[in-house]
Symmetry: C2
Subunit: 224 residues, 2 copies
DNA sequence: ACCTGAACACCGTTCAAGT
DNA sequence: ACCTGAACACCGTTCAAGT
């Protein structure tokens, strides 16, 4: 994605700003102050330049965010030792992707970019697809399986981080508790039954369990 | 959520704007022109008022969006005849929620609000939890199961609608195709093997299959 | 109580010009 | 080729005042 600063073909004014510098400064802003603070103007002043100079190195803000995601995953998504058993390899790969993304909630706005999140993650995608094939799925089923895993992962992170963001701004959570406290046990008996445990149940981290469950379902469907 | 216009306790200037009118006009803007065009200023002029008048009826834009989601689900999420078999009831309820949300992609920014999307959906949540209990899960397992289903659903819609939005703005899809065309079969054999089919495979709507797979996994895990 | 005008503190992006 | 200044066309929200 970031072309490795090829030798300049034509001569002209020497660049004062590099793509790398832009991404690096953007990363610092995001990690230190949050995505909300990353604006083209803020980034420009951080670099000691003008907003417009950035548009010579980036098509638009969207491209900056994708670059940032690539940079982050390349930096943190290291290939681990994976279990030999194909099913465990699938679970471990999916967990690795999930862990890295869950650790940087700012990614949420970008990560839904496509069925694959970033080129740095391709190796993990390979492991998941290959693991599923190793369990008896056809390559086509394995791709669909990977997609199901990706949907689950992206959904888990999106829901959990926006819920957390909302909890920080209090009062809206109170409304939800109110709704659950006022449930009519005649109409919604199951929800009324678990109403007092709802918050604690939905705050638990059950992502790994869910992932395992999904993988089990995939294998049961593919290799009956 | 929208208190049913209770009789006014104190007298004063008669209101010229009602919460209902605000939501109605906002809905029209969103359905006719897209979420991006829904701004407080635009909404105010549509109503024939000023931006500030809105803040007398709404806390902020966030509240407007939640109101809009409630309004939409109350309007479109009608309780269907559900299958008697508990597993099929789970699948049918989840599918109903998914269909309604998938039909209005603008919701994506709001729908991740919490573990439940809207009070109008509570009945469907009840059906899912009850169906899972009917299949042998404990109430706690059923709630976790519902959550897994919600993550999957939210992820599917988020990923698919942002992917579609991106496809409208072309060129970034081309980059992904380039990546897949250039895959090294030595390093990533499985991905290289399906590379030419990747786009068609990941564009297929396999949401229902995935949902069934997940539910199967949940039942296998809960009632071994 | 309800609404308005004017302002604050910002955005992303484009255009025409400078070196 | 690379960068700048000034501007365009917006945002959400607050404050103080009006009726």
């Amino acid at each position: 994605m970031s072309q490795p600063s090829a030798p300049r073909k034509t001569l002209g004014r020497p660049p004062r700003i590099s793509r790398e510098e832009v991404v690096e400064k953007a990363r610092r802003i995001v990690t230190e102050e949050g995505v909300d603070r990353l604006t083209m103007r803020r980034l420009a002043t951080e670099i000691g330049s003008t907003p417009m100079a950035l548009y010579h190195h980036l098509r638009d803000k969207e491209e900056l965010l994708v670059l940032l995601l690539d940079d982050y995953t390349a930096r943190t998504l290291h290939r681990p030792e994976l279990p030999a058993h194909p099913r465990e390899r699938v679970v471990a790969s999916a967990t690795a992707i999930h862990e890295v993304l869950a650790a940087c909630p700012w990614i949420v706005e970008v990560l839904t970019a496509d069925a694959l999140m970033s080129t740095s993650a391709l190796w993990f995608v390979e492991q998941i697809v290959d693991g599923l094939v190793g369990c008896g799925l056809t390559p086509e089923q394995a791709v669909h399986g990977y997609r199901a895993i990706w949907y689950y992962t992206a959904g888990e992170i999106t829901v959990r981080t926006t819920a957390a963001r909302r909890r920080a701004g209090d009062d809206r959570a109170t409304y939800r508790e109110q709704v659950f406290a006022d449930l009519d046990p005649g109409e919604l008996p199951r929800l009324a039954q678990v109403a007092d445990r709802w918050t604690s149940l939905t705050t638990q981290d059950t992502c790994l369990d869910g992932l395992r469950t999904l993988v089990n379902g995939l294998l049961a469907a593919g290799a009956p």
